[in-house]
């Protein structure tokens, strides 16, 4: 047996939390039942950081829709609102229209590059701390601990027969699951309507059917994915780990067991009996017991590891107890791991963060962010588009003049109604009127009022004197009132002569 084989057998025989089946003679199985993960409570800096991230993300998720933001009488007063019915996206002082979707696209690109940045620097930190699947799994694992007790109690209860007490316990636990799922789905719909009104309508049975359907679907998915599937989502279903492994390199920080320091492992007693023959790992299995995905990090980097670093907390605690230096399991880059294994001194982890690749990602990320901010500041809140009638393309009037008709769209992107003056630019001698302002008031320009946050459709009739040649001209629009803004659109005046 080579040394690596010996190691594998040793691990297979170890009492891991997942009660590994004997693997000497693999049975031909069609499927494999999930081995439940009963992770142990742990405390330490990384666990506390995980608590902190959980607190922050959940607070953002649940509280955001309730923040109010005064936008005056013509727009909703919810700070963050996805108004699907009116196709508006409100985010504090920012209001996004469908045609400005590039802002959302820009944010998504930033999120993508942000993930590249984080992954190239600290590996699967997203998975370990802030992925919703991780956060909710963590919540549900705390519920397990609260109802059934810590690891050993849970393992015992799992193996116990179905007594009345166990049934009651399970019913209680699953009720909590459903309540959590319901809260999750309930908070989600708050982003799509005025939150206080929606809550009121929801309980009176007057909310839109889609609200109830969404809550039911999200309750079910939350309970299924967070309550029952848990780490299986990360291992089997999520595409992200596959992509992440392509974005990490030997300079990225990742949770690593320093086998050159830990092996050969042996219990504390054995190690004391034969000093110098064993490494630092005392095979206490604490790292396995606390792992939320139920893996053994000592087998090396693997897809089940979400780099939550709870095993670091666990191992550091053991090391402290037996009086050895911390960091047998630690954040380290593969490059540094090689160096350290070769006997060189350890490099502080933060040094891995500053390198050309991460800096390049950061510049790109920041550049896009600044670009979006610039666009946000420079964008116009008025717009006009013109669609000339093509059937018929022009109209001969009884006095010999030529009339063209246009469908104009005037966009008022502020939450105040505004007067807008549409004018003809070019096309000498032409006058216009609209469907609301009659021909008797035809003039070079017309003023209409566009309601707050709306696009008005205006039919404009432009009449040019007899014998006007076909030509390009433009409509301009200028808002009245303070801080006037203007926009302009080119279009064509068609005549019977056709070509110019």
């Amino acid at each position: 047996m080579s040394s690596s084989e010996a190691k594998v057998v040793a691990i297979g025989q170890a009492r891991t939390g997942r009660s590994e089946p004997p693997r000497q003679d693999p049975p031909e199985k069609l499927y494999e039942a999930r081995r439940a993960v009963h992770n142990k409570r742990i405390d330490g800096p990384f666990r506390r950081f995980k608590w902190f991230v959980m607190f922050v993300t959940l607070t953002i998720y649940y509280v955001t829709p309730w923040i109010r933001w005064d936008r005056g009488p013509y727009a909703p007063n919810q700070a963050v609102l996805v108004d699907l019915a009116h196709r508006r996206f409100y985010m504090f002082g920012i209001e996004i229209w469908p045609q400005e979707f590039y802002f959302v696209a820009g944010l998504l690109i930033m999120a993508g590059i942000g993930l590249f940045l984080v992954t190239s620097a600290v590996g699967r930190a997203w998975c370990g701390y802030s992925c919703p699947q991780t956060v909710w799994t963590d919540v549900f694992q705390h519920v397990d601990r609260f109802v059934d007790g810590d690891r050993n109690a849970r393992m015992k209860l799992d193996a116990a027969p179905w007594t009345w007490g166990k049934v009651m316990r399970r019913a209680f636990k699953w009720t909590i699951y459903v309540v959590i799922g319901f809260w999750t789905g309930g908070a989600w719909i708050m982003y799509f309507a005025d939150a206080p009104t929606l809550v009121h309508d929801f309980w009176r049975g007057e909310a839109a059917p889609v609200a109830y359907i969404t809550v039911v679907v999200l309750t079910l998915t939350t309970v299924t994915l967070g309550g029952f599937m848990r780490e299986q989502v990360c291992v089997y279903m999520c595409p992200w780990p596959r992509i992440q492994s392509a974005m990490m390199d030997e300079k990225s920080l990742t949770v690593t067991y320093k086998d050159w320091r830990g092996e050969p492992r042996g219990s504390l007693k054995k190690a004391q009996r034969n000093p110098d023959q064993f490494g630092d790992c005392v095979d206490c299995l604490q790292c396995v017991a606390v792992c939320p995905t139920g893996i053994d990090i000592r087998n090396g980097p693997q897809i089940g590891c979400i780099t939550c670093a709870l095993c670091i907390d666990a191992c550091d605690r053991t090391m402290a107890e037996i009086g050895r230096p911390r960091g047998l399991i630690d954040y380290i880059t593969l490059e540094d791991a090689k160096r350290e294994a070769a006997g060189e001194p350890a490099r502080p982890a933060w040094k891995a963060l500053l390198r050309p690749r991460t800096i390049a990602y950061f510049m790109l990320w920041g550049g896009i962010g600044l670009g979006l901010l610039f666009l946000l500041g420079a964008r116009n809140h008025v717009a006009i588009s013109a669609a000339p009638d093509r059937n018929p393309p022009f109209m001969l009037m009884s006095d010999g003049s030529i009339r063209n008709a246009y469908t104009l769209k005037l966009r008022n992107m502020v939450s105040q109604p505004r007067g807008m003056t549409i004018a003809i630019d070019g096309l000498s001698g032409a006058v216009m009127w609209t469907d609301s302002i009659g021909r008797d008031q035809a003039a070079r320009s017309q003023t209409v009022t566009v309601p707050a946050d709306e696009t008005s459709t205006v039919r404009a009739y432009v009449v040019a004197p007899n014998a006007t040649p076909q030509q390009d001209f433009a409509f301009t629009v200028r808002t009245t009132g303070k801080q006037p803004e203007s926009a302009r659109v080119e279009t064509l005046f068609t005549t019977p002569g056709g070509e110019r």
Partner: protein, 303 residues
């Protein structure tokens, strides 16, 4: 099975192939995955039984639920029809003169009229109502033989043009002047008619003939008469063409169009909607006082 395809490191069986030294582990699937897979099979079988699915020679199997996309469409159409009844009742009650006072109703009527127009009217007037010179009038311009306010348009649509048996139909007849003029007289007359709208220098002889023969209907200066449907001759719009030859042809052998009386085919509400739509095309007039206003000439407007 022989144990030779077992991976040493993991203890898992391999599938037995090798690609450039890489072997694939035959890891069992998770149980939930398999169950989900079986469920999809059950669902598919249920779906095939419940809904039309398998293609047969002429059509697909019917499905136990009896659902068809055609039936769905019929149901949707019926629902849509029902949702329109309220609007139609409102429209039936309101006299057309009051329609402009109800912008919402007017808007609905125009939309409904546009749909009815596409079905009934585009064959002659064209899909944009542009007409065909020499055959069908343009409905977008500001020239109306019989009046262009809502009421007048409604009457025209209801009773049609030159419909025998309908007392209220729009009826006018231009007498054929065949054989009454010499070729030179005819030419002079046509020149005068063109001159009325400034297309040509005037002809004194033509003017005299016009005053004697045509002014009684078309007016001394060619202003036309909507009471009798006599077209204006002093504007830029020619129903049957404005060339000398076209005018002469119209004098000798007048072409007189007809239009069906739509009350035979359409209900009053649809006709009301059609009138609203035609009025909205851009040439619609306000309700005119009964009396005919003096017709404007090209000069008047161009100043």
């Amino acid at each position: 099975m022989a144990n030779k395809h077992v991976d040493q490191l993991t203890g898992t069986q391999t599938v037995g192939h090798e690609w450039d030294g890489i072997e694939e582990l035959d890891t069992p699937l998770p149980r939930w995955w398999l169950w989900t897979f079986y469920l999809t099979i059950v669902f598919a079988i249920g779906y095939v039984i419940a809904y039309p699915a398998l293609p047969m020679l002429n059509r697909a199997t019917e499905g136990e639920l009896g659902w068809t996309s055609r039936g769905q469409l019929a149901k949707d159409m019926k629902a849509a029809e029902q949702s329109r009844t309220a609007l139609r009742e409102q429209l039936a009650q309101i006299p057309i003169e009051q329609l402009p006072d109800h912008p919402d109703l007017m808007q609905q009527a125009v939309a409904g009229g546009a749909a009815a127009f596409k079905v009934n009217c585009v064959q002659c007037h064209g899909s944009g109502g542009g007409g065909v010179v020499g055959h069908y009038p343009n409905l977008n311009d500001d020239d109306w033989l019989w009046g262009g306010d809502l009421k007048a348009i409604q009457t025209t649509i209801t009773h049609g043009i030159r419909q025998p048996g309908d007392d209220a139909t729009r009826n006018s007849a231009m007498p054929p002047f065949e054989g009454m003029f010499t070729a030179a007289e005819l030419d002079a007359l046509a020149q005068h008619v063109q001159a009325l709208s400034h297309k040509a220098p005037d002809s004194a002889a033509g003017a005299k003939l016009f005053a004697e023969n045509c002014a009684i209907c078309h007016g001394a200066n060619g202003g036309g008469d909507r009471q009798v449907g006599a077209p204006r001759l002093n504007d830029a719009i020619w129903l049957y063409g404005g060339s000398r030859a076209a005018i002469e042809k119209q004098v000798v052998k007048p072409h007189m169009g007809v239009m069906p009386a739509w009350d035979k085919k359409l209900d009053p509400v649809t006709i009301k909607m059609l009138a609203a739509y035609v009025h909205s095309l851009g040439g619609g007039e306000d309700f005119a006082p009964e009396q005919q206003q003096p017709a404007a000439t090209v000069d008047d407007v161009q100043q």
